[in-house]
């Protein structure tokens, strides 16, 4: 450790103010604080004595994501082996998957680092660690066969438009990782809109993802029967929970996402209120739609022409298909763009759940609705906070009179 400290002290002298290399200070500072806690002292309040600075917080999020990466890689290999009808074994599948995951990861980090460093040098601020988390999240939201140049453009867009033009980490309105996901969704719909299957397979290998199956029923049926009738992939509830289904790299295994959720809640990083309330919102809306479907189909309302297999998806299936859990655990809880008051968090999360089901079920154009729901609620989070605070002020004033 002393050796490392010495290197940083020596190189630190090169980038001090006034030296010719001083423009590179942000780079040095970023590398230094990865290994050592900062030795800067605050001169004005607030003085917080805690080792959990932004960098450590962000690192914990990255740690929570690692299992998703490993399983994502395994799943790519597993599905590929299934399609090619070969045996490769667990290790072989994982290695095969990593040959797809690592290039995406590298493309993301190169794009993110270029944008982040450019802005840090121009604006003369320190490199913000937020980009590590954004860049760690982006590959997990990508299909395995996405072209790398698209990843590069999408990441740059997310970092610049989603974050830097608002002034960097802490002042952004929208989650940068989701901004880049949304950009890619609308910019390159043929590759990532979520209706065709996302697996690496032989040419012409395609099918519908779990979300698209009930959206295009051949004839009216319930979603569960449609899932069961699909023989290409096993869309049983158990299988969807274990994540052996096609999808974005990080979203499929629900157990590991739950593990990440508990880890983040235990470390005090993510808000359990947002996660819980978004699940509640989703269950509530899904049940409402089930009821609506029951009433119209089974003859009480006689609406006629209303049947929509998406309305028959049960709440449990809604949670298990698509990327709802991944979004709500890792994206919706981002501390900067979510609500900051506890009451606000309940409202914010609940509406994410509601909007997710509405976009999935009612809108035939978009198979997946989680990222749109979270982005919409990102936009409203400050408004929710404002009214929560105002309501509190009013209540206390009324009590005092």
């Amino acid at each position: 450790m002393n050796f490392l400290r010495k290197i940083f002290e020596e190189t630190g002298k090169l980038v001090e103010k006034g030296k010719p290399l001083s423009w590179a200070y942000p780079v040095w500072e970023a590398a230094d604080t990865i290994f050592f806690s900062t030795n800067k002292q605050t001169s004005k309040g607030p003085h917080i004595r805690d080792n959990m600075d932004i960098k450590r917080t962000m690192f914990f999020v990255v740690i929570a994501l690692i299992p998703c990466y490993i399983f994502g890689a395994y799943n790519i290999g597993y599905l590929n082996a299934l399609a090619m009808e070969i045996e490769r074994g667990i290790i072989g599948n994982t290695i095969f998957g990593f040959t797809y995951v690592i290039p995406i990861l590298i493309a993301t980090f190169v794009a993110g680092a270029i944008c982040e460093l450019t802005f840090a040098i121009i604006r003369k601020h320190e490199v913000n660690e937020g980009f590590l988390v954004s860049c760690a999240l982006i590959p997990l939201t990508m299909p395995p066969d996405v072209p790398l140049w698209q990843v590069f453009i999408g990441t740059s867009f997310g970092i610049i438009i989603g974050k830097e033009i608002f002034g960097g980490v802490g002042t952004n309105i929208f989650n940068p990782a989701l901004t880049s996901r949304a950009f890619m969704y609308f910019a390159f719909p043929t590759k990532i809109s979520g209706d065709k299957v996302w697996a690496v397979g032989p040419d012409g290998y395609s099918g519908a993802t779990a979300l698209a199956i009930p959206a295009n029923p051949v004839e009216y049926d319930t979603a569960s029967n449609l899932f069961a009738a699909n023989t290409q992939f096993d869309y049983s509830t158990v299988n969807m929970f274990w994540g052996l289904i096609p999808g974005s790299i990080g979203e499929t295994n629900k157990l590991l996402i739950l593990f990440g959720a508990f880890f983040l809640i235990y470390c005090g990083i993510a808000s359990w209120r947002i996660m819980l309330s978004s699940v509640l919102g989703l269950v509530f809306t899904a049940l409402l739609f089930n009821l609506l479907n029951y009433l119209t189909v089974d003859g009480i309302l006689q609406a006629g022409g209303f049947p929509n297999a998406m309305l028959t998806i049960t709440p449990l299936q809604h949670i298990l298909i698509g990327s709802f859990l991944f979004g709500t655990v890792f994206m919706a809880t981002e501390p900067v763009t979510s609500s900051h008051t506890n009451t606000g968090r309940w409202i914010y999360g609940f509406l994410i759940g509601v909007l997710t089901v509405i976009i999935r079920s009612i809108n035939p154009a978009y198979p997946e609705g989680v990222f749109l729901a979270i982005l919409i609620m990102n936009m409203f989070a400050p408004l929710i906070d404002y009214y929560v605070v105002q309501a509190n002020i009013k209540m206390r004033l009324a009590r005092n009179v």
Partner: protein, 217 residues
């Protein structure tokens, strides 16, 4: 005539650069979003706006001493509307394909805030030659931005660069098939209106950076 002294130069160059109607005053955004899908549309639209703005400024400036203040808006509108009708008919007569593509947006030049704004703010207070220069500067400033935006939208959104000709447009350059075969894809987002907003925002950002404009926080 004081056409070429520094003051009149400023009248023309300011709206093109440091006081651009779109990127600094943020006027005329609706048509900037609507007609920037293809470069040829933007060029024709620019010509139409140059004609309407210059003529309306000159006409209104000539009659400015006879317009009662109370009814000036009505008079301004009727002058502008007649000029727009002339442009619309000319397009229909000589560039029928283009006029079909531009559809209502030629007619909507009437509601373009830049034209009313310049008439109200400049033409009614200055002589015809200055008013003409002001009209020229502002319409060129408008045209410059929409041509830049449409260039990028068409190139990355549709993969072509189209110049106006008598018919449906002359394709100057098209992204070769070999690029698509190598995995290139058009960015579909840019064809949609949000794409125009994003490009316009970036143009505004870059231009303000160069013009050195700081907005009060």
């Amino acid at each position: 005539m004081e056409l070429f002294n520094s003051e009149s130069k400023k009248i023309v160059s300011d709206p093109i650069n440091v006081n651009n109607p779109i990127s600094l005053q943020v006027l005329g955004i609706c048509s900037a979003l609507a007609v920037t899908i293809r470069l040829d549309q933007a060029i024709i639209m620019t010509l139409a706006v140059v004609f309407v703005l210059c003529s309306s400024n000159v006409i209104l400036s000539l009659i400015r001493n006879y317009i009662p203040t109370r009814v000036r808006i009505v008079i301004m509108l009727s002058v502008i509307a007649s000029l727009v009708s002339v442009v619309d008919e000319l397009l229909k007569a000589y560039l029928y394909d283009m006029s079909k593509q531009l559809s209502v947006f030629v007619g909507l030049i009437i509601t373009n805030c830049i034209i009313m704004g310049r008439a109200e703010a400049f033409a009614l207070k200055h002589g015809p030659s200055k008013a003409f220069l002001d009209g020229l500067g502002n319409s060129m400033g408008y045209g410059l931005i929409i041509i830049i935006v449409s260039f990028f939208r068409e190139l990355f959104g549709a993969g072509t660069i189209t110049l106006p000709d008598g018919g449906a447009g002359y394709v100057l350059w098209r992204i070769p098939e070999s690029w698509y075969a190598a995995g290139y894809e058009n960015i579909g987002l840019l064809v949609l209106s949000p794409g125009a907003f994003i490009i316009l925002g970036l143009v505004i950002w870059i231009q303000r950076e160069f013009a050195g404009v700081e907005e009060d926080a």
